[in-house]
């Protein structure tokens, strides 16, 4: 019965893709809608199916087919996989619902059909990565996911930004594949099979297995956007259509997290330093991610950097999990693992919610620059409320879900004093401090985002004209927002329902108390306070109706933090001057530029790219178009072979 649901879901995805592609020739709206409905239905089915497994806990295994005799693509869904399937299904369903409205507002004619079709394939590929039973089918769908998402990123291929994003994304994706493939091959060599099963360490295979872990870790980190492999995220997300960003940020990054978790738990027996490595990578990403996010003026860029931060938090959870399981603290390990998992789910929910509502905003204002927005709370009330839920959740405000998962991380951290090794303890404390910084900065970041987008007055004519979006584009995010609230408020009950009784506060009680206190105050004030209300101008030191340009902008908002962390945001100054005379005295003209130094781009990515280009230049000179040179190569090769023969014989 269950496997039937799974198969039906896959078929629905495939038919969704087929319908969309078939309708591409005629730019058919019906095909698009039908395809998205298929995707939504399939995702929902998938989520239900996975939820059943998650609850019952009895794993399901399915053999799909054999592309080559002996190489089988097979699925195995246990609780871990089911958890991620729930995540994928739930978010994808909401995104699909949203897309039914969104695609009709997009430019691009029949390309929109391709978008819908690729979305179906993309979601299917992600689901099947998670469901994969063998490393080879994992890799197969991993690549398929990469290809499909690449197509989606390239949707607005004519924009200059998209070209750049596409190149970054393509290269980083390939790099990720390289490492994952390397890891899988090394595992195959160490074990002789493609099964995702525990490796029995022998002294001979130990270095190989460690290398395999490192390769897989780097591969998954690239896909998850861990600093310093993060650069594709802030390019790809703004360039792609909002539902795609929501899927990529909300779901695809989690697939990488799933990969790391799956291999850590099912294949390797981790060492302590693996945990430390993951923890440090996670902390660095979390802190730097949010510091970069706060500086962004591009709403989707901001969300992208914030994704880096949240993936960092998830990695912190995983790192703690490894550290605690290596040091034998089972309860703490479980808490950390659940923190990572729960935060994955929560991040999927609120990040896709934020991307979708941001998409609505961008659609309404025709800009991604938050400095051009403002005043949308009055013009798009529902969207603003939905975005608010997302922002509050991501800023870890109780009693929402973002807080619930960060609470688990904190709990693990606070309890980490039990770890025996003092140096690990110190490391944990430092990470804790940075983690706290992250969480506070993320609150600041989303105050900035929400404030600049929705509050005060519009700062551009387009924002002035903005209006609320249609029901489909509200329904999808609304479900996600509801999920954020429910998962937060009932977090204790949900965890207890799955058998995890942790010493964490009951957020239901807290929310009841919050409501109670609010209501109590309200009632008291109702009887004691004046009820008179009036509307007036904002006070402007006596000036009448200041223009909206006098408002505090997002840029101004983040200025103090930017100044405080100025060592992170290195600026680069370039000055060129021209003089009339040869003594450089009489200044003729000049340019000066101060811009943000993109540290990783300019000191890591570009030097490598330049080195490759230089090597290519040298090698291209070999191919100089002259027959004599070519024949000389042959001659040299032949002489070398003859010499080799003389030596070897």
């Amino acid at each position: 019965m269950l496997d039937l649901i799974f198969q039906v879901a896959i078929l629905l995805f495939l038919s969704g893709a087929a319908i969309a592609f078939l309708g591409a020739a005629r730019d058919s709206r019906t095909a698009r809608t039908l395809s998205l409905v298929c995707s939504a239905g399939a995702s929902a089915l998938l989520a239900i199916f996975a939820f059943v497994i998650l609850v019952t806990g009895s794993p399901l295994s399915l053999a799909a087919w054999q592309p080559f005799p002996g190489i089988s693509i097979a699925f195995f869904i246990d609780r871990l996989a089911a958890f991620f399937l729930v995540l994928i299904g739930a978010v994808a369903a909401c995104v699909a619902v949203y897309s039914t409205g969104y695609v009709e507002h997009m430019e691009g004619g029949s390309r929109r059909n391709l978008l819908c079709g690729c979305t179906a394939i993309f979601v299917l590929a992600m689901a099947l990565v998670v469901a994969s039973a063998t490393t080879i089918s994992f890799l197969f769908f991993w690549e398929l996911m990469a290809a499909a998402s690449f197509m989606l990123v390239m949707y607005e291929y004519t924009h200059a930004g998209t070209t750049r994003a596409g190149i970054f994304y393509f290269v980083m994706t390939q790099l990720s594949t390289l490492f994952v493939m390397l890891g899988i091959i090394m595992l195959f060599v160490a074990t002789g099979s493609f099964a995702i099963a525990p490796v029995h360490l022998t002294p001979a295979s130990a270095p190989l297995v460690t290398a395999a872990f490192l390769a897989l870790f780097v591969g998954f980190s690239i896909k998850a956007g861990i600093i310093p492999f993060h650069k594709w995220l802030p390019y790809a997300h703004p360039a792609s259509p909002s539902p795609v960003s929501a899927l990529m940020s909300g779901v695809m990054l989690k697939v990488a997290v799933y990969g790391l978790l799956r291999f850590l738990m099912a294949v390797f027996t981790p060492d302590l330093w693996w945990g430390v490595l993951i923890l440090i990578a996670g902390t660095a990403s979390a802190v730097l991610g949010v510091i970069y996010a706060i500086k962004e003026d591009d709403i989707k860029g901001l969300l992208a950097y914030s994704s880096i931060e949240n993936i960092g938090i998830i990695f912190v959870g995983i790192g703690l999990f490894v550290i605690f399981s290596c040091t034998g603290f089972v309860l703490l390990a479980t808490i950390s693992l659940l923190a990572a998992l729960f935060h994955s789910l929560n991040h999927a929910l609120f990040k896709s919610l934020l991307f979708l509502t941001a998409g609505s905003v961008v659609h309404a204002t025709h800009t991604r620059d938050i400095e051009q927005m403002g005043g949308l709370a009055a013009r798009m009330p529902v969207t603003s409320a939905l975005f608010f839920v997302g922002a509050a959740a991501i800023a870890a405000l109780p009693p929402l879900n973002g807080f619930a998962s960060e609470l688990l991380v904190y709990t693990a951290f606070f309890e980490s004093v039990t770890v025996a090794d003092p140096f690990t303890k110190i490391l944990l404390f430092i990470c804790l401090a940075l983690f706290a910084l992250t969480s506070a900065l993320s609150a600041a970041c989303f105050v900035k985002a929400f404030g600049s987008i929705f509050l005060a007055r519009p700062r551009s004519p387009e924002s002035e004209q903005a209006h609320e979006v249609g029901p489909a584009m509200l329904a999808g995010p609304a479900i996600l927002a509801a999920a954020c609230v429910v998962l937060g408020v009932f977090s204790y009950q949900v965890l207890a329902g799955f058998g995890y009784h942790f010493p964490i506060p009951d957020l239901l009680l807290v929310s009841v108390l919050l409501l109670l206190m609010g209501a109590l105050t309200y009632v008291i004030l109702w009887f004691t306070a004046s009820h008179k209300e009036r509307t007036g101008e904002t006070w402007g030191c006596g000036a009448r109706s200041l223009p909206s340009s006098t408002e505090y902008t997002g840029h101004g908002f983040s200025e103090p933090i930017v100044t405080i962390f100025s060592s992170v945001y290195q600026t680069k100054k370039t000055v060129t001057k021209k003089y009339y005379d040869e003594h450089d005295c009489i200044f003729a003209e000049g340019t000066a530029e101060i811009r943000l130094l993109k540290f990783f781009e300019e000191y890591l990515y570009l030097p490598i790219a330049r080195g490759a280009t230089r090597a290519a230049g040298v090698i291209a000179r070999m191919q100089n178009g002259c027959l004599d040179t070519y024949l000389l190569y042959v001659f040299v090769a032949v002489v070398a072979v003859i010499l080799f023969l003389g030596v070897a014989a």
């Binding site: 004599d628 070519y630 000389l632 001659f635 003389g646 014989a649």
Partner: protein, 230 residues
């Protein structure tokens, strides 16, 4: 009826002829004499084949000798000479990578290298120092010397001659290293003829040389147009 000593003497003289012709091909600038020298080299080769045939009493070798005479001494040189007249180029002055003297020195060095290598490789089958072993060395050296012509000379027609000289080297090597079936030898010659025909036609079609073509295209456009028409 064969006298080994006499045979040895004859063949050694012919070897010297082959090497000298090959050296001449590497160094000379006059195209017409190049063709003639090639014909001469082929003739020497034919003579070697004949003396081998006489020495070993082999009909196959005789047939090979006749084949060589017909194709390499008469038909191909004649054809190339005709083409040369059409493209009206008499000299190939420029050298690439190697000057005439350095190419001679390198050929000498190559011969030594090949001698050493072959003495390792062929140690099981051919006695070191025997005439047959020496023939094999000369053969491969000839191949490499021919190859040096192909890349050190500018004109495509010279390259063709270099290629032909390489092929002569293979023939020589084949004669002394082993006995190939006649059908193979025959097919190779046919292949050679087709290849030479096509290459030469293409050479006519493109220009007198390959490398100068790009430069000339810009500088002497008219002159080049006029020259190109066959």
């Amino acid at each position: 009826m064969s006298d080994p000593a006499f045979f040895d003497g004859i063949v050694k003289i012919l070897f010297v002829c082959v090497i000298v012709t090959s050296a001449y091909i590497i160094t000379t600038k006059n195209l017409i004499s190049l063709v003639r020298v090639y014909a001469l080299q082929s003739l020497a080769l034919m003579a070697i084949a004949l003396s081998l045939a006489w020495y070993e009493n082999s009909a196959i070798l005789l047939a090979i000798a006749i084949l060589t005479l017909v194709f390499k001494v008469i038909l191909i040189p004649y054809f190339i000479a005709t083409v040369q007249e059409k493209i009206r180029i008499k000299r190939d002055i420029e050298f690439h990578f190697l000057s005439p003297t350095s190419s001679l020195l390198i050929s000498l060095a190559l011969m030594i290298v090949i001698y050493i290598t072959l003495s390792h490789v062929l140690s099981d089958t051919l006695a070191k120092g025997s005439l047959f072993f020496f023939g094999a060395v000369i053969g491969i050296s000839l191949v490499l010397m021919g190859m040096m012509v192909t890349f050190s000379r500018k004109r495509a027609i010279t390259k063709v001659l270099g290629y032909l000289s390489m092929e002569n080297g293979v023939l020589l090597f084949g004669l002394f290293a082993t006995e190939l079936p006649f059908i193979i030898e025959f097919l190779i010659v046919i292949d050679l003829v087709i290849l030479i025909l096509l290459t030469t036609i293409l050479t006519v079609g493109i220009d007198s040389t390959l490398e100068e073509y790009h430069n000339r295209l810009h500088r002497f456009y008219l002159w080049e147009e006029q020259e190109e028409s066959p």
